[in-house]
């Protein structure tokens, strides 16, 4: 009980600090608006919104305010993806892909207003569920993570890369791992963290400081999207919005069990390292279809189906921040961009993070979701107008934003070359169905992995048993090995045979 009261009082203090600062509202309104706009425009994603704002706000304003801008955009963009899904049948973001299955049939049936209103409410409640989980679990995990030393950190970083590679691969799992290894390899460039030995610098002084996070983020997430999006697309006709958007309390109460269940699922999926909002949306949609009484109506215009995915993708945000803040491992691709912002502000998320930052993040999340809720209900018609803008008008401006954002972070023109190089590589990787998120996570966690892996060996005098001699390390090692073994054909076949025998 004391723990809960202490948490609540800490959160109350951080919340009041935010509420009483007039600048909070300026950053919040602009960033949530930008976020919803990015989410609403097909071709622009939540990851892109956070990435671009990282370049723009990351180190230009105090971290307190840049966190408002980045989290506001993150919350807004995930929600904004529902607009084109419902009204155009085109998911604005990958996270809203499941939303289109039921949202569009509802809008065509003249229930677009009701669908948007309930989606907005569900996204708001979902974000709050994720945020509450963040407030509670982040502290419990922080207590546990006090026992985490170098071997566990190295294994956790590896686990994050392997897991995101496994779960984010659309084609072969091996491609996700290759992507993660390429990211790790990129992190090896520059002076090594223990002995300051130059690695792969090819005599170029710029490379001594290694690859900077922001240009890599911009290159990996923005440039491929610009290249892919610069094509003629016939804009579908926006379904006319009928009915009032403001939901009535009765229907909210009716769907509250679905919203709560999806919120919990979204938070849980988000807490897995490297797994994004799209996976959360689909998992929750799948569970909803199985357990719901109207499961047979899913895909044909079911409000439960719509709320299952929309609640989960917003709840995923809070979940994704748990591993980021506790372990320094991003829970989703936008969280990876957020980690970039922490990094350029010299803040190392993990067991040593300042608890005040966590409380501020939670307070910002609550305010951002409230702003999103109000904007969604009362300014929805503005965002619907935005849907008519083709991406070939918007993406060139994104390219200019990306360029100036990358340039101003510090490395100048060289950072732009890096951004473009990474961008073209990432475009071809996308083309060959290599997931990009593991690459970015590899770049971000590579330094940590290198340092903690070697420090563990240094402490043990080169004895590899150090990675199995402590309980948490042994568990993590087993998880890593299981993750790899699960993809080996012989093991797969053996498990298949075992399962067959049981049946």
């Amino acid at each position: 009980m004391d723990f809960v009261l202490m948490q609540l009082s800490g959160f109350g203090g951080a919340f009041m600090d935010l509420v009483l600062d007039p600048l909070t509202y300026a950053y919040l309104i602009i960033s949530v608006f930008l976020g919803i706009t990015f989410g609403a425009l097909p071709g622009l994603t939540a990851t892109l919104a956070v990435t671009i704002l990282t370049g723009f706000f990351g180190n230009k304003i105090p971290l307190d305010y840049s966190l408002i801008a980045l989290l506001g955009a993150y919350v807004g963009a995930i929600y904004g993806g529902s607009y084109p899904s419902i009204l155009l049948n085109i998911p604005g973001t990958a996270a809203s892909a499941a939303t289109a299955m039921d949202g569009y049939p509802l809008a065509k049936a003249g229930r677009g207003g009701e669908a948007l209103g309930l989606t907005t409410t569900a996204s708001f409640i979902g974000t709050l569920i994720g945020t509450i989980a963040l407030l509670v679990f982040v502290w419990l995990l922080l207590l546990l993570s006090q026992n985490i030393a170098s071997p566990e950190k190295a294994l956790l970083a590896l686990f994050g890369i392997l897991l995101s590679g496994t779960l984010m691969s659309e084609d072969l799992v091996i491609k996700g791992w290759i992507s993660g290894l390429i990211g790790l390899a990129m992190a090896m460039v520059g002076l090594d963290p223990l002995l300051s030995e130059p690695r792969y610098t090819f005599g170029w002084s710029y490379m001594l400081s290694g690859f900077q996070v922001v240009p890599v983020l911009m290159g990996a997430f923005a440039v491929p999207q610009i290249i892919e999006g610069m094509r003629h697309m016939e804009m579908g006709k926006v379904v006319q919005l009928k009915g009032r958007i403001l939901p009535n309390l009765k229907s909210v109460r009716r769907y509250l069990p679905t919203i709560t269940r999806s919120g919990v699922i979204g938070t849980g999926v988000g807490a897995l390292p490297g797994v994004g909002e799209d996976v959360a949306g689909w998992v929750s949609y799948g569970v909803g279809k199985t357990v719901s009484k109207e499961g047979n109506k899913f895909g044909k215009g079911s409000l439960e189906g719509l709320l299952s995915s929309e609640t989960a993708n917003n709840a995923c945000i809070g979940g994704a921040l748990i591993p980021l803040l506790v372990l320094g491992i991003p829970g989703s691709p936008p969280a990876a961009a957020l980690m970039g912002a922490f990094k350029i502000n010299n803040i190392i998320p993990g067991p040593t993070i300042d608890p005040a930052i966590i409380l501020r993040v939670v307070a910002i999340m609550v305010l951002a979701s409230l702003t999103m809720f109000i904007m969604g209900l009362f300014t929805a018609r503005i965002f619907i107008k935005i849907l008519a803008i083709p991406q070939v008008v918007f993406l060139p401006i994104v390219m200019v934003l990306t360029t100036i954002g990358s340039f101003s972070v510090g490395g100048g023109i060289n950072d732009l070359y890096l951004m473009l190089g990474v961008g073209f590589v990432a475009y071809f990787m996308n083309l060959m169905k290599y997931p990009i998120a593991p690459l970015v996570i590899g770049v971000i966690l590579g330094g940590l992995f290198d340092e903690t892996f070697r420090r563990s060996l240094l402490i043990s005098g080169g004895d590899l048993a150090v990675f199995a001699s402590r309980p948490i390390a042994a568990i993590l090692l087993a998880l890593n090995l299981a993750l790899i073994a699960a993809q080996v054909p012989v093991v797969k076949r053996a498990f298949g045979r075992l399962r067959g025998r049981k049946v």
Binding site: A185, M188, P396, I404, L420, M432, G462
Partner: protein, 251 residues
């Protein structure tokens, strides 16, 4: 539906064949480069370096060895699925002429913008040209428009790059004037097509306002470095900001 899926898988496996070969080559190259980093306790300036387990080479060795193994596995998967056989066929390449042209023109535009224009030409001018070229060139998907857009950016970029290659010459303004001229000409061409494309009507406004606002916000709002501060337009803006406008509230 199934045959479409099969075609996609066949294309992917053929591309995987090339991808695996490139990855094997890169892994081997970087494994060779890693040998330059002392692994077995080298001697630096009379000081004995670390043991193998603390060497700066140990983690990269693991990474590139892992990459090599995974690339070989990918190659095997690709060959077994017929990727090697389809690698040089149309299925293997998987791009049609239009898509290839779209990518090539985009690559030209982005390369000359980043490598040629941004360091040497006023940011507002070169970004205005970029926005005009991209929107005009790709809005309708016409090959001819893509070619005109790419040629416009390539002309300015190549001129700036070749004429003012060393950093000492980046402040020159002849490339700024050329970019301005080409930008105006391209905007004129875009406007002639604006009767059918209503977005092209507002294109000149967007292409001026977007970079202008961005560069001013970054330079004067966030007080950050922006590309080419001595550019034709930005130099004037900066001068008038500090000499004419700022004193209004400073005094």
């Amino acid at each position: 539906m199934d045959s479409k899926q099969d075609d996609q898988t066949a294309t992917l496996r053929a591309r995987d064949f090339w991808g695996a070969l490139v990855l094997i080559g890169l892994s081997l190259f970087f494994l060779w480069r890693t040998m330059d980093i002392p692994l077995w306790g080298g001697n630096r300036a009379g000081v004995s370096a670390a043991a193998w387990y603390n060497s700066a080479a140990i983690v990269p060795l693991g990474i590139f060895a892992g990459l090599l193994v995974l690339s070989i596995v990918l190659l095997v998967i690709s060959v077994r699925s017929g990727g090697a056989r389809a690698a040089l066929s149309a299925v293997g390449i998987g791009w049609n002429g239009d898509e290839a042209w779209r990518f090539v023109t985009l690559a030209i535009i982005l390369f000359f913008y980043v490598a040629g224009l941004v360091p040497r030409v006023d940011f507002i001018l070169c970004s205005g040209l970029l926005i005009t070229a991209l929107t005009y060139g790709y809005h309708r998907g016409h090959r001819s428009r893509m070619s005109i857009a790419a040629a416009a950016v390539a002309l300015c970029g190549a001129y700036a790059l070749l004429r003012h290659l060393p950093q000492a010459q980046w402040a020159a303004h002849d490339d700024d004037w050329l970019t301005l001229l080409i930008w105006l000409a391209l905007s004129g061409v875009a406007l002639t097509h604006s009767r059918r494309d209503r977005f092209l009507k507002i294109l000149p406004v967007i292409s001026v306002l977007a970079p202008l606002l961005l560069v001013c916000a970054m330079a004067f709002g966030f007080r950050q470095n922006v590309p080419n501060r001595g550019g034709l337009l930005f130099k004037q803006i900066e001068y008038h900001y500090f000499v004419t406008i700022r004193p209004i509230w400073r005094t």
